[in-house]
């Protein structure tokens, strides 16, 4: 699993550098997210634009990653490819997370609501 992290406009961007978040990857993803987001801004944006497939284990790991942030911080999702978007929509998880088509849209939303 490879995650890279940067800060833009007061939000932390975590990019997933992997084509799959599946059962073989889920536990590692959750642990890597814990390390990446141990401290940092209140808003974390997960860039999923390189992820071409996710299963329910991967979905659960993203939910776990949001819980790890605690109540005062939030996890938004950006750059969902068609399969990833489908899994979130079917499971109604699109009602739990704020989804953005692109990372740009997500960071622009920061600028609007930020200060």
């Amino acid at each position: 699993m490879s995650l890279t992290s940067s800060n833009i406009d007061g939000a932390q961007i975590v990019a997933v550098n992997s084509e799959r978040i599946d059962a073989a990857m889920a536990i590692q993803f959750k642990e890597d997210m814990r390390v990446q987001t141990e401290t940092g801004p209140a808003r974390v944006i997960l860039d999923l634009s390189q992820v071409k497939f996710i299963d329910s284990s991967g979905l659960g790991a993203i939910v776990a990653a949001m819980k790890q942030l605690g109540g005062a911080r939030r996890l938004d999702l950006a750059g969902l490819t068609p399969v990833v978007e489908k899994v979130f929509r079917l499971t109604r998880m699109d009602t739990v997370f704020q989804l953005y088509a692109t990372l740009d849209e997500a960071t622009n939303a920061t600028a609007e609501t930020g200060t």
């Binding site: 939910v63 949001m66 499971t91 109604r92």
Partner: protein, 145 residues
Amino acid sequence: MVETFACSFTATELEARSGISAVVDQLRGLGLPTGRVDEVQIVLAEAVNNVVEHAYAGHTPGDVNIHCNLASDRLTIYVQDAGAPLPDHQLPMGAPQDLTGPVEDLPEGGFGWFLIHELTSDIHYERSEGHNNLQLSFEIQVTHN
């Protein structure tokens, strides 16, 4: 015209990933539309993950055998394993998860059977001679090149 193909692998997470990818590549090559292949991949991943995580739980992982049968209007995938039977030898209902509570109570699992039910047109399960036989059907339209 009917196309059939099969693959087998050991029920570990990494072998499952390769096996699922192999089936998905075959279906793409046979002209199944991308969106449909995506849905089949979701269902197949959930079905195979169940075998890896539940049927062979606590045992040396055995084999997962997958057979695919692609006709002009229907894809049928047979998943067979020699692990423990489904509870009560019945297909789980696959009810949607309750997401209405606070974030800390959100479910992190239990989505698999729901996704399988949502994305298939027909499912059949049979326990026979120490094997689980799961039959997953999809209505499809193949685009011939």
